[in-house]
Symmetry: C2
Subunit: 340 residues, 2 copies
């Protein structure tokens, strides 16, 4: 989609990370009206250069002056950097779209998946939060369903890729897998556990309830995006040896009977989704097909036989964690914010 | 555990498969009273030899005479072989423990996880079914919980290893992963989809309900093992790039309030389980630690925040698919069947 934006100057903060690099790639075809692009990162990464629209741009060190004059800034350098640099930038007139979790649950900060709750962009104060990656993919499917038939409860188990833990985690998965295949010993460095040919509970901190931070994000952010503070939702977040697309097994309880055909029809008509649900061919959403594309794949849509009165639906989704799960969603927010 | 069995002659049918090889390894320390061990397979595999208790045993071709004189036979050569050879062997006096799905749901065939429903062995007719691998692991956890607090509903999403599809699938995962890392093209042969660094819905046939055969096994067999024909249960079976241990994310609804401490206590006291639930260390069940051991690992035990009145529990388990998920469980059945 080629846009004709009036944003003229754009900065990417955290440009050398996995999400930052994806921003740089997506700018090839998005926000084409932007004339000036600055890439910013920590002192450690400053000086390297990244190709953007065919030109090598040198990454500069982020300072408190870096964002002066920028109409728009994407932040993807972690919670601490966002906490320090995003609010002053927003106060100075830059529209900040923040990929960290720093401000997502602030009541006056919109948390937006453009296909699901674009109306929440109407009242921003210069700072808009991009949701957690697993949450975006889940909300893409739950959003249109909830609009048609109120959802009561969701149980989700994730199959999360290494990319969610950054560029170095993707490299660790590749190097460690090579070591395992060659029978060499290895020391996990980025992840706390072996990631090659293994599966482990998400590495984020566990709170006293027993849920980890990633699961808490999925649960709290989904409620905010759907505008459904009473949604009963439980998440289990698990890492799998996949490079850059997350998958989720989703069990939904509706407040009323809903047929699988209805669900399939609703999802087929929803922007940003592609229904992949070919039972005879055993062809369903997979990370290998979700990687590198914009759409979230959804399939395995079936009546949940464990729920009475046809109020339950099971489904499975896969989506690119770096693209719709992060950089693309942030860019789509910017595209919706075209200055009037 | 060293047993003093009166079974004197034993045959392993399907000896060269992934499960058959695990049988051979386990016989080192199990059923030590058995004096004669025969390894049987199809004509294609006959002639190879496998080490059993330090001696190379030549694999013989399975014929209708092969089981004559065997006190005990383990079948793990697929449904068709079991259908043809198991019933006549049982009629001729051999006790058959069948790892295929051929007879599992027959009303007069016990389907047994020895720690959960050993009483079902009291009335066998020479043929005992070993449950599906995912089902055994799940029943190991649900069994003791259901005994203490009746379970109403279970939602399970699996993370299944390649070994469930046999020795050639394990080889495909290794070879294909090497190819992907080296940037070489590959053609999936055993699995219908790429298995390296990918996740896909279980390859078994989907029926008109939208559930696949593996999921149907988990649902039907769990009901039979627990003696709970009305259990509401829904399964989603997914392959992950792991060699030989399955994991499962399990959401349980009890008929009454149950605390996570109670659940942990029950599982800690249950044979064959090891609770791995260290929140500060972020240490939970993983295939890398479940592989090659007898116990099923269980952890991430927490109150399900999406269920009212404390009636919901979330947990995660990992277990060796070839060992407790197949060969070990069958051997344990035999150990319970010590002739009187």
């Amino acid at each position: 989609m080629v846009s004709t934006f009036m944003f003229k100057s754009l900065a990417v903060v955290g440009a050398t990370g996995a999400v930052g690099r994806e921003f740089a790639r997506l700018l090839e075809h998005h926000l084409v009206g932007v004339e000036r692009i600055r890439l910013l990162a920590s002192a450690r990464s400053a000086g390297t250069s990244l190709p953007v629209r065919g030109t090598a741009i040198t990454v500069e060190c982020l300072t408190h002056d870096s964002l002066t004059g920028a109409d728009l800034a994407f932040f993807s350098a972690g919670r601490d950097v966002s906490r320090e640099f995003a609010p002053p930038a927003a106060r100075a007139g830059t529209i900040v779209i923040d990929n960290s979790s720093a401000f997502r649950m602030e009541p006056d900060v919109p948390l937006v998946v453009p296909e699901v709750n674009p109306q929440d962009l109407d009242h921003h104060h210069g700072l808009i939060a991009n949701p957690n990656c697993s949450t975006i993919l889940l909300a893409m499917v739950l959003g249109p369903l909830h609009l048609a038939h109120p959802i009561r409860r969701v149980v989700v188990s994730t199959y999360q890729a290494a990319s969610g833990a950054g560029h170095s985690a993707m490299q660790e998965l590749q190097h460690q897998t090579g070591a395992v295949l060659a029978g060499r010993r290895f020391q996990p460095e980025v992840f706390p556990h072996p990631c090659a040919l293994n599966v482990f509970s998400h590495e984020s901190t566990i709170d006293e309830s027993g849920y980890n931070e990633e699961e808490r994000k999925i649960m709290a952010e989904t409620r905010k995006i759907l505008g459904h503070p009473n949604l009963a939702i439980s998440a289990t977040s698990v890492r799998v040896p996949v490079l850059r697309a997350h998958s989720e097994s989703v069990n939904i309880t509706f407040g009323e009977p809903v047929t699988e055909d209805e669900v399939r029809e609703i999802l087929r008509g929803s922007p940003g989704l592609r229904v992949v649900d070919d039972r005879p061919a055993n062809h369903f959403p997979m990370p290998s097909e979700a990687s590198g594309i914009d759409e979230v794949l959804v399939g395995r849509i079936r009546q949940d036989l464990s729920q009475a009165e046809g109020r339950g639906i099971e489904l499975f989704l896969s989506g690119d964690q770096l693209r719709k799960g992060a950089a693309l969603n942030a860019i789509q927010i910017a595209e919706r914010l075209q200055p009037s």
